[in-house]
C-alpha cells in the first residue's frame, strides 16, 4: 500500500458513510485516533531550509500557489512562517522564477521530480526560459517513452491470464516465442525454413556443370528441377500454414492483414501459387519468371526473428524526413551537374555524354565517389565540372547521414535499455519487498475500514489459499442440488469452481444472511459441513491485533451457535437487515458437521 495514499484515507473513511444504511451488521468501533496536527518579508521554510523574500515578489504571479491566498494553508502560526514539506533544492529554482521572471531547468535534476514540484507550486512548464526549454522537452519526451516502454513490457510480458482462450494463447505464442516451448520450436522451424528457401533460391542460379544433352552450362535449378520444386513446395507449405495460423490467431484480423509483415508473407508465397495456376504459355511465363524475383522477399521474414532488423526498419521509418531531404537535394544536384556536364562535353568528339539522362549516371557515380570510369570527361571544362561535382557530392551525402545514424543509435540504445530494465526488474522487486515501510496509524485505520466493509456485506476477506480450500470443501452433488436450490434462488448456487472439484455430499450453510423466506428450506439440508474458521488468514490476524486496541466481542471464539444446529426449527438468527445481535456471532463462528436430519 503506497504510503502516499494515506492522505486519502480520511476521504475514503468518510465515503464509507455510504455503506451504513445497507450494512447487514453493525459497524465496529473506530480505533482511537491520537493524531495532532501547525511587507514585509515572508519566510518560506522548505524542509528546514529557510528562504526569505518580499511579499511583493511572490505576488507578482498571482495565479501560482505562492502568489495567491493558497499559501495561507501552509502558514505555521507557531513559527510565523510558511512551511512546505518539499525539496529545497528544486524550490530554489522556483523561487528564482519569482525573482527573475525566468524559470530554469537544472540538468542534473530528475525530470519527474521537477515536474511534480512545478505542479505543486502551480507553475506551468511553458514558461521555462529559452535557455533550458530544449533540454526540458527532450528529457520529458524520453521519460514518456520510457514509461510507455515499461507499460508495454508489463502488459506484454509474462501476462499469463488463466482464462486465455486457445486463440489468444496461440497469438501470444506467435508474438513472444520464448513464452512456451512449442512457440520456440515453431520459431526456430520457421526460421530454418526461411533460410533454406532463400539458399535454394540462390543456389538455383549457380551454374552446375553442363547437362548431358546440352553444350553449355546450365544452372542447378534447371538441372535438378524436381528437387528444387519439392524443396520450394515444402517451404511454401510451411509458410502458408504459418500465415493461416497467424491469421486465425490474430485478435484483429483486419489489422493483421494490413500489417507489413503479413504483406511480406503473402508476397513471399504468392509466386509459387501463381506458378502453379499458370499454364505454360510463353508470354505469360516470361512474366512469371519476373515474379520469382519476389521470392527474395522471404528474407524479410527474418525480421520477425531479428530485433536488430526491426530496429533498422523502424529507424528508417522515423528518419523519413531526413531521408526525404537527402533524396531531394541529391536529385537537385544531379540534375544541375548532369546538365552542365552535358553541355560542357557536347563539343568533344566521341563523347559518351550523349544526353542529359546519360549524364545522370556519371553524376551519380561521381557524387557518391564511386567513379567507375565508364564515362570520363575529356574537355577541360568537363574535368573542372567533374571535380566540383565529386566535392559537392561528398558534402551533400555527408550531411543527413549523421542524423540518421544518431536516430538509429538512440532507438537501438532504447531497446538495449529496455532489455536491461527487464533483467533488473526481478532483482528490483525483491529489493523493494524488503524496504516496504508501513505507517502504523494508517494501517489500523485502513483495517478498520476494511472491517466495516466486511460488516456491510457480511462476508469476510480471506486469502487465496483459504479460499481455495474452502472451495474444495464445498460441492454440490446432483441430488443435493435440488435441495440446495431451494436455498439459493438460482441453480448455480455455489461458484462453479467447486462444482467441478469433488462430489462430497456436503456444503456450507450460507451465513445467516439469507432471506427470510428461505427459512423453511434449511430443514432440507442433508449435511451441513461446518468447520473451524482458519485463523491463518490475514483478516483475522488483523482483527486479532485490533482487539488490543478496540473492544470487539466474539472475534475469536469458536463455539457453535445453537441456531445453526437447530435444524428442525427455523434458525433463530433470522436476519432482519443484519440487526440481530447474534448474527455477527454466527458469521464468525465455526461450523460443525451435523449429520443428516
Amino acid at each position: 500500500m503506497a504510503a502516499g495514499v494515506a492522505a486519502w484515507l480520511p476521504f475514503a473513511r468518510a465515503a464509507a458513510i455510504g455503506w451504513m444504511p445497507v450494512a447487514s451488521a453493525p459497524m465496529p468501533p473506530p480505533p482511537r485516533d491520537k493524531r495532532r496536527g501547525q511587507d514585509g518579508l515572508i519566510i518560506l521554510n522548505v524542509s528546514g531550509t529557510r528562504f526569505q523574500t518580499w511579499r511583493n515578489t511572490l505576488e507578482r504571479y498571482p495565479d501560482t500557489l505562492l502568489g495567491s491566498t493558497e499559501r495561507d494553508f501552509f502558514f505555521h502560526e507557531e513559527t510565523n512562517e510558511y512551511f512546505f514539506d518539499r525539496d529545497p533544492d528544486i524550490f530554489r529554482h522556483i523561487l528564482n522564477f519569482y525573482r527573475t521572471g525566468k524559470l530554469h531547468y537544472p540538468r542534473h535534476e530528475c525530470i519527474s521530480a521537477y515536474d511534480e514540484e512545478l505542479a505543486f507550486f502551480g507553475i506551468i512548464p511553458e514558461i521555462i526560459g529559452d535557455c533550458c526549454y530544449e533540454e526540458y522537452k527532450d528529457r520529458r519526451r524520453e521519460n514518456v517513452e520510457r514509461i510507455q516502454d515499461d507499460e508495454e513490457n508489463d502488459n506484454n510480458k509474462d501476462m499469463v491470464l488463466p482464462d486465455m482462450s486457445f486463440r489468444e494463447t496461440m497469438w501470444r505464442a506467435f508474438e513472444n516465442p520464448h513464452t512456451s516451448t512449442m512457440a520456440l520450436v515453431f520459431y526456430y522451424v520457421t526460421g530454418f525454413f526461411i533460410a533454406v528457401s532463400v539458399m535454394a533460391n540462390v543456389v538455383e542460379t549457380v551454374p552446375c556443370g553442363s547437362g548431358p544433352n546440352r553444350a553449355k552450362e546450365v544452372s542447378c535449378g534447371e538441372r535438378y528441377v524436381l528437387a528444387f520444386f519439392c524443396l520450394d513446395t515444402a517451404c511454401v507449405m510451411i509458410f502458408t500454414v504459418e500465415y493461416l495460423l497467424r491469421l486465425i490467431a490474430a485478435p484483429s484480423r483486419y489489422k493483421f492483414v494490413k500489417s507489413v509483415m503479413s504483406i511480406i508473407d503473402v508476397v513471399a508465397i504468392m509466386p509459387y501459387y501463381i506458378g502453379l495456376v499458370m499454364t505454360d504459355n510463353e508470354d505469360v511465363s516470361g512474366a512469371f519468371v519476373t515474379l520469382r524475383v519476389f521470392r527474395v522477399f522471404r528474407i524479410f521474414k527474418f525480421s520477425r526473428h531479428s530485433a536488430g532488423l526491426r530496429i533498422l526498419g523502424y529507424t528508417l521509418k522515423s528518419c523519413a524526413s531526413e531521408l526525404g531531404f537527402l533524396l531531394f537535394s541529391l536529385t537537385m544536384a544531379i540534375i544541375i551537374f548532369a546538365t552542365v556536364m552535358f553541355y560542357a562535353e557536347k563539343g568533344s568528339s566521341a563523347s559518351k555524354f550523349t544526353s542529359i539522362p546519360a549524364a545522370f549516371w556519371y553524376t551519380i557515380v561521381t557524387m557518391t565517389t564511386l567513379g567507375y570510369g565508364d564515362m570520363v570527361p575529356k574537355t577541360i571544362i568537363g574535368k573542372v565540372v567533374g571535380s566540383v561535382c565529386s566535392l559537392s557530392g561528398v558534402l551533400v551525402i555527408a550531411l543527413p547521414v549523421p542524423v540518421i545514424v544518431s536516430n538509429f543509435s538512440r532507438i537501438y540504445h532504447q531497446s538495449q535499455r529496455a532489455e536491461k530494465r527487464r533483467a533488473q526488474k526481478a532483482s528490483k522487486q525483491t529489493g523493494q519487498a524488503l524496504v516496504c515501510k508501513s505507517n502504523p496509524t494508517f494501517e489500523t485505520q485502513h483495517h478498520h475500514l476494511l472491517h466495516c466493509l466486511e460488516k456491510t456485506t457480511n462476508h469476510e476477506f480471506v486469502d487465496e489459499q483459504t479460499y481455495e480450500t474452502s472451495c474444495m470443501e464445498v460441492s454440490l452433488a446432483k441430488p443435493s442440488m435440488s435441495r440446495s436450490s431451494s436455498l439459493s434462488s438460482s441453480p448455480h448456487g455455489l461458484s462453479s469452481c467447486c462444482t467441478r472439484r469433488n462430489k462430497r455430499k456436503s456444503f456450507n450453510v450460507p451465513n445467516s444472511y439469507m432471506a427470510d423466506g428461505r427459512r423453511s428450506s434449511i430443514q432440507e439440508l442433508s449435511t451441513i459441513q461446518i468447520r473451524e474458521r482458519p485463523m491463518s488468514n490475514s483478516r483475522s490476524c488483523l482483527n486479532a491485533k485490533f482487539e488490543e486496541t478496540v473492544h470487539l466481542n466474539s472475534e475469536e471464539q469458536s463455539y457453535i451457535t445453537a441456531a445453526v444446529i437447530s435444524m428442525p426449527t427455523p434458525p433463530v438468527t433470522t436476519p432482519e437487515g443484519g440487526d440481530s445481535a447474534s448474527s455477527p456471532n454466527f458469521l464468525q463462528s465455526n461450523i460443525v458437521r451435523v449429520s443428516a436430519l
Binding site: W8, F120, E576
Partner: protein, 205 residues
C-alpha cells in the same frame, strides 16, 4: 475529492487529463477565511486537510480515473471502480467540474439528517428522487465487488439480490417498489444500528 468532502473545493474533471499536454490543469481553492466561515471545520483542520490533499494531488484536480485508482488501492482485493464511479457521481452534483459548493462537510461534520441525505443521493443513481431495486442492486453489487473473490463465506450470485430484498423490505414501507427519501430517512432514524454507525466517522482528521 477528499477536498470536496472536507469542503475544500477542488476541481473535479470529468474529462480525461491528457498527460502529454504541457499545460498543467490546476485548480485553486477558495480563500481560507471564506472556507472557515462556510464550513464547520476549524482553520487548523482546513489547513491540515488541504495540505494533505495538495501533497497527493499537486495539480488540485481529481478526475474519475484518479478516484478509481485511489479506491482500488484501499481495496486491493476487489474491484472498487464501480463504487468509485458512483461516489464520483454523487459528489459531482453540478456535473461541470467546477468548484464544489460547500456542504461537503456534511459527511464529516454534518447532522445525521444531512448524512442520510447524502447517502440517499448516492444510492439514487439517476437522481430522480426514488431508489429503485435496480439502482440498489447496482450499488450493492459494486460494494460486493470491492470485496473481491476471496471471501469467506464465498460470494454467491444471488447474495447482492438478497441484500437488496432485505433492504427493500426494511425501507419500503408502502411496498410500492421504490424507496423515497422520506421513507429512507424515517427508517434509518428508527434503526439504532444505523444511527450508531453514522456517528463512527466523526473524528476523521
Amino acid at each position: 475529492i477528499k477536498c470536496c468532502i472536507s469542503n475544500i473545493p477542488c476541481g473535479i474533471q470529468n474529462s480525461v487529463e491528457d498527460e502529454l499536454e504541457l499545460s498543467a490543469v490546476r485548480h485553486r481553492p477558495e480563500a481560507l477565511e471564506q472556507l472557515e466561515a462556510q464550513t464547520r471545520f476549524s482553520r487548523k483542520e482546513l489547513q491540515i486537510l488541504y495540505r494533505g490533499f495538495k501533497n497527493e494531488c499537486p495539480s488540485g484536480v481529481v478526475n474519475e480515473d484518479t478516484f478509481k485508482e485511489i479506491y482500488s488501492q484501499f481495496f486491493p482485493q476487489g474491484d472498487a471502480s464501480t463504487y468509485a464511479h458512483f461516489l464520483f457521481d454523487a459528489f459531482d452534483t453540478d456535473h461541470n467540474g467546477s468548484d464544489f459548493v460547500m456542504g461537503r462537510s456534511i459527511l464529516l461534520r454534518g447532522s445525521v439528517q444531512e448524512k442520510l441525505n447524502w447517502a440517499f443521493n448516492l444510492y439514487d443513481i439517476n437522481k430522480d428522487g426514488y431508489i429503485t431495486k435496480e439502482e440498489m442492486l447496482d450499488i450493492i453489487k459494486s460494494i460486493y465487488d470491492m470485496m473481491g473473490k476471496c471471501t469467506y463465506p464465498m460470494l454467491k450470485e444471488e447474495t447482492p439480490r438478497q441484500h437488496v430484498e432485505i433492504f427493500f423490505q426494511k425501507m419500503d414501507k408502502n411496498r410500492d417498489g421504490v424507496v423515497t427519501i422520506d421513507e429512507f430517512i424515517d427508517c434509518c432514524q428508527n434503526d439504532e444500528n444505523i444511527m450508531k454507525s453514522m456517528q463512527l466517522f466523526e473524528n476523521v482528521i
